[in-house]
């Protein structure tokens, strides 16, 4: 490999806190050669972001490097002067951040923010630097770069901002590019386009890449070496193919197992999971940090911290029992039987007919004088859907497509502008306030962000108990018992009843939220992105939990998500929504096989698959989800459709086509033709422009 470009030697980073220094990164050694692409994978709390910033010697006020060395080229960054560091920052190392919307200064024009880099590192004057900024914006394939340079960050979409940040990072032609979760805040379709861009630009510029992420799929696509971080330590490192095919640390095994592949479903087997959570730096076990969650742990693991051993050429693992893993251990089989849809509990089916939800624009004046208001935001625009009892219907689409609003219309948190929601024969009041208690009891919702949906000042027991008191008419003395029962059923110890939400991890909070939703034995639960705010290993266990609860209680779910793999895993039926309308609906197997609606096809092609061997399908969506104020004419998908036919798509609304008794899609293209196109290598279609 020659002299490495970046070499971390036994690096330890600590944060000074009131409890004393906490080591967030401990003894990490790794090295990158010129042009290497290194993926650093870990969940939240693994120390991966701290490590990324430590490489730059840029830590929060209370953070400092307490041991080890950082060599970049021939420089020792830890002893470098402020001036030397400034030449490295943005000059020799470029950085792209997780959230593009907050990483750019809201009151400076985008072009100016890029030009600053050109002035600082390339020594260009004002005019030249501006020209360079525009050229860089063109380089990241933004159309009309000169106009984009004049815009402010809030005028650009997330995908465009992330491209601008990539342009900024590459302006000085850096030797190393650090990317910290650069696509996590983006939609899957935009993510695919941005990853393509990173890949091709990294090749063109020859920069080495340190790619920090929790997403094993992205790493499989982009990197050639992977390091897995857990609780501040590097636990395994391997070339990307080897890691995916023969992981040599039980944590990596668990991480890979907890991601539903695009072929997994709940009827076959529950996802393998990593129980428990990452320990905080102040509660580390004495021996191996992974012991509390490890299925292979034995006494020797608890006694001493295992060494980080080179177990094969270019492979390292911090597990004493790696040899057993090399023999093909894949985790103890989960003993729970696959979830089978239980007999339904007898009740009525929830259905929506022609539901529309328009939000007025124009603020207070528009409310008072509707004639002055602008055209409304058509968040949900005529969706009819029924939830067959005891099944899960997955609702997928990009952010801004109206899927959450539709869920809120069903439970009555948003009043539909038109259309009805019925439970069996019974037409429900549009507002939750007008619905009788038995209806409220039957129809519950789990929200995306448990931090926001749990009252921070109520203990878990009281939060669930309130639900019991309000909806189940349970006398106070029986409630305690029932709360304990509910906590057990979501896999939490009874003692958690006395805890406050802040004492729980994200996954535990979401379990409490699920327990609360199930408190009064609902028949139907609307799950709005219930796992997307959580870590990978926790997502798997929550999907399992939802499947188990469904099997044991016969509940019906509407599972709203942008994560197609999760939807595929848990759903019996899938509905695809775009710009407030449904475009395809059918049983899960049917929706995930051709003929696809072109939108479904593009969503599927965009998913980074956590397996480097999977051939890539390069079908990309152009542009952003258009505004739901000015909905495109004809087929609303036509401006972005990779398979657009022509005139007809722009002028006429497409017809619904029946592919089977349970599978329908809405497109101008004949089903047989779609089938034929989609069986062909789809790489001929590519339309990646502005994300």
């Amino acid at each position: 490999m020659g002299t490495p470009l970046l070499a971390l030697d036994n690096l330890t980073v600590a944060y000074d806190t009131e409890e004393g220094p906490l080591a967030a990164v401990r003894g990490v050694s790794l090295s990158l050669g010129k042009g290497d692409r290194y993926g650093l994978v870990g969940e939240s709390g693994s120390g991966k972001t701290t490590l990324g910033l430590a490489v730059l010697c840029y830590l929060a006020g209370n953070g400092r490097v307490t041991g080890g060395a950082i060599r970049f080229g021939d420089a020792d960054l830890l002893t470098a002067s402020a001036g030397e560091l400034r030449r490295v920052w943005g000059g020799r190392i470029g950085m792209v951040y997780q959230n593009p919307a907050t990483a750019l200064n809201p009151s400076l024009r985008v072009g100016e923010q890029i030009a600053e880099v050109a002035r600082a590192h390339l020594g260009l004057g004002r005019g030249e630097a501006h020209g360079k900024a525009v050229a860089m914006l063109a380089k990241v394939r933004l159309s009309d770069p000169a106009a984009v340079a004049e815009r402010y960050p809030h005028e650009l979409s997330g995908g465009m901002l992330q491209r601008a940040l990539i342009a900024m990072a590459l302006t000085s032609n850096p030797e190393l590019l650090i990317l910290d979760e650069p696509t996590t805040a983006l939609d899957v379709t935009t993510e695919a386009v941005v990853l393509d861009l990173i890949e091709s630009l990294a090749e063109e510029y020859g920069s080495a890449i340190l790619y920090i992420t929790h997403n094993l799929g992205v790493v499989a696509r982009l990197c050639d070496r992977v390091g897995v971080m857990y609780a501040g330590e590097l636990v395994e490192e391997a070339p990307v193919n080897d890691l995916y095919h023969l992981p040599l640390h039980p944590y990596t095994v668990g991480l890979l197992g907890s991601i539903p592949g695009l072929d997994a479903d709940k009827h076959r087997a529950p996802l393998s999971t990593v129980p428990g959570r990452i320990p905080r730096p102040n509660e580390l076990p004495a021996g191996c940090v992974f012991v509390p969650r490890c299925q292979l742990a034995e006494d020797a693991c608890r006694a001493a911290r295992p060494l980080y051993e080179t177990v094969a050429p270019r492979r390292s693992s911090r597990c004493r029992r790696w040899l057993e893993l090399a023999g093909g251990w894949r985790g103890a089989a989960d003993t729970s039987p696959p979830a089978v849809t239980a007999a339904t509990s007898g009740g009525a089916e929830l259905s929506a007919q022609g539901v529309k939800k328009y939000f007025p624009t124009g603020g207070a004046i528009g409310n008072l004088l509707p004639s002055l208001a602008g055209p409304p935001v058509r968040a949900v625009d005529d969706i009819s859907l029924s939830l067959p009892e005891g099944t899960t219907v997955g609702l997928v689409g990009e952010s801004g497509c109206g899927k959450t609003t539709f869920g809120r219309c069903l439970v009555g948190l948003a009043e539909p502008t038109a259309g009805t929601v019925s439970l069996g024969e019974n037409r429900l009041s549009p507002s939750v306030a007008g619905r009788p208690r038995p209806v409220l009891r039957r129809l519950q919702m789990v929200f995306q962000n448990p931090d926001a949906s749990l009252n921070p000042s109520l203990t878990v027991g009281r939060a669930i108990g309130r639900q019991l008191a309000l909806l189940a008419d349970l006398p106070a003395d029986r409630r305690r018992e029932r709360v304990a029962e509910l906590l057990r059923s979501v896999g939490l110890p009874e003692s958690y009843a006395a805890r406050l939400p802040e004492e729980l991890s994200g996954g535990e909070k979401q379990r409490v939220a699920i327990a609360r939703a199930f408190a009064a034995d609902p028949g139907i639960v609307i799950c709005d992105e219930p796992i997307s705010a959580l870590d990978v290993s926790v997502q798997g266990s929550l999907l399992n939990l939802l499947s188990e609860l469904q099997a044991s209680r016969g509940a019906t779910y509407l599972f709203i998500s942008h994560d197609l793999a999760a939807v595929r895993y848990i759903s019996d039926y899938v509905a695809v929504v775009y710009l407030g309308r449904l475009w395809e609906i059918g049983s899960t197997a049917e929706v995930f096989a051709p003929p696809f609606h072109p939108y479904t096809e593009a969503l599927l092609a965009a998913i980074p698959v956590p397996d480097p061997a999977t051939p890539r399908r390069r079908l990309r969506l152009a542009g952003n989800v258009p505004s739901s104020v000015q909905v495109p004419s004809g087929c609303r998908f036509h401006p972005r459709c990779p398979r657009q036919l022509g005139q007809i798509c722009e002028t006429e609304e497409p017809p619904w086509r029946q592919a089977s008794s349970s599978h329908r899609l809405c497109c101008h293209i004949e089903l047989a033709e779609l089938q034929r196109l989609q069986r062909l290598a789809p790489s001929t279609v590519e339309a990646a422009n502005d994300a």
Partner: protein, 314 residues
């Protein structure tokens, strides 16, 4: 942006209309009768009735209100009951004086306060931060009549650097008046300082925590560029709002400071009109002060919107 300003101006007019109702109503409720006030307590009933007729006081209240408002809008603010002179030029002269004092106060206080606030934020939780916080808070706690008298005692009577009285000539130009403006300006500065410095400090701290400041540093920009181009541009937004709002108080509300220094501004004129039960004068000054406060608030919003592209461009 223009339509936004137009809409806000409409609200200002509405505010003024409502205030005129309140001001007119309150002055009607004040004890005493204007005619009695003018003619004295021993005037004959006939004379009183005649004067009421001349002044139009025997008409229904709404007619009187409308008449008063219309004349006020036209610029005919009537004559003072106390001195018999025309009110409008008198008030305008005081307005000019108040504006001069406000300007001096702003120039003295704002740059200092902003620098102190930024320094305190950059050196957060250091001894310097604590010293700035404690001193500015201690100073804002002192009432103006205390600080004002201390300044007079030390800087005017003791060291004889500056005049003790700020009674300026009616037609004094700005530079003639300047020496007399410094002591009241200092007094105002002490009030403004803590207010603006703390606002700047918390605004700067918020901005320093943001991701885009990290981006700016990791671009390799020198610290002074990060502060000037990235931090202040965002951190001063709330400060600018506070300053613009305070213009209302600086012009129309300095009753104590003006009294301590004998400075002929609007605040003292308001006090005078109350002491002399000079109702037309009271009404005129009150309306003017309300207008200044409304416009200062409007200015604050417009400046904020102008400096903030997220609002300016939407």
């Amino acid at each position: 942006m223009l339509s936004y300003v137009a809409r806000r101006l409409l609200f200002v007019l509405l505010t003024l209309l409502l205030s005129s109702l309140v001001i007119f109503g309150v002055t009607q409720l004040l004890p005493g009768d204007v005619a009695t006030m003018i003619l004295g307590r021993f005037a004959t009933p006939e004379a009183l009735a005649r004067l009421r007729g001349e002044l139009g006081l025997d008409r229904p209240l709404y007619v009187q209100y409308w008449d008063w408002l219309w004349r006020f809008v036209k610029g005919d603010w009537g004559t003072s009951l106390a001195t018999g002179t025309a009110i409008q030029p008198w008030v305008m002269e005081r307005l000019r004086n108040s504006a001069m004092l406000a300007g001096v106060g702003l120039v003295m206080s704002v740059p200092l306060a902003v620098v102190l606030g930024v320094v305190a934020a950059m050196k957060r939780d250091s001894w310097l931060d604590h010293v700035i916080s404690v001193f500015s808070l201690a100073l804002v706690g002192l009432p103006e009549f205390v600080t004002g008298l201390v300044f007079i005692g030390v800087l005017a009577l003791g060291l004889k650097w500056l005049p003790a009285s700020s009674a300026i000539e009616p037609d004094a130009g700005f530079f003639d008046a300047l020496p007399k403006l410094i002591l009241p300006g200092l007094t105002i500065t002490l009030v403004m300082l803590a207010y603006v410095a703390r606002m700047t400090r918390s605004g700067t701290i918020e901005v320093l925590k943001t991701d885009y400041i990290r981006t700016a540093y990791l671009k390799g920009l020198p610290a002074h560029e990060v502060i000037l181009n990235h931090v202040l541009r965002n951190a001063l937004l709330p400060t600018v709002t506070i300053i613009a709002i305070s213009i209302g108080w600086l012009i129309g509300g300095l009753i104590v400071t003006e009294s301590v220094f004998g400075y002929p501004g609007l605040g003292r004129l308001l006090l005078y009109s109350i002491q002399h039960r000079d109702l037309p004068l009271l009404q005129a000054v009150s309306m003017l002060v309300v207008a200044i406060y409304s416009l200062a608030n409007l200015l604050a919003d417009v400046v904020y919107a102008y400096l903030n592209p997220r609002i300016r461009l939407s």
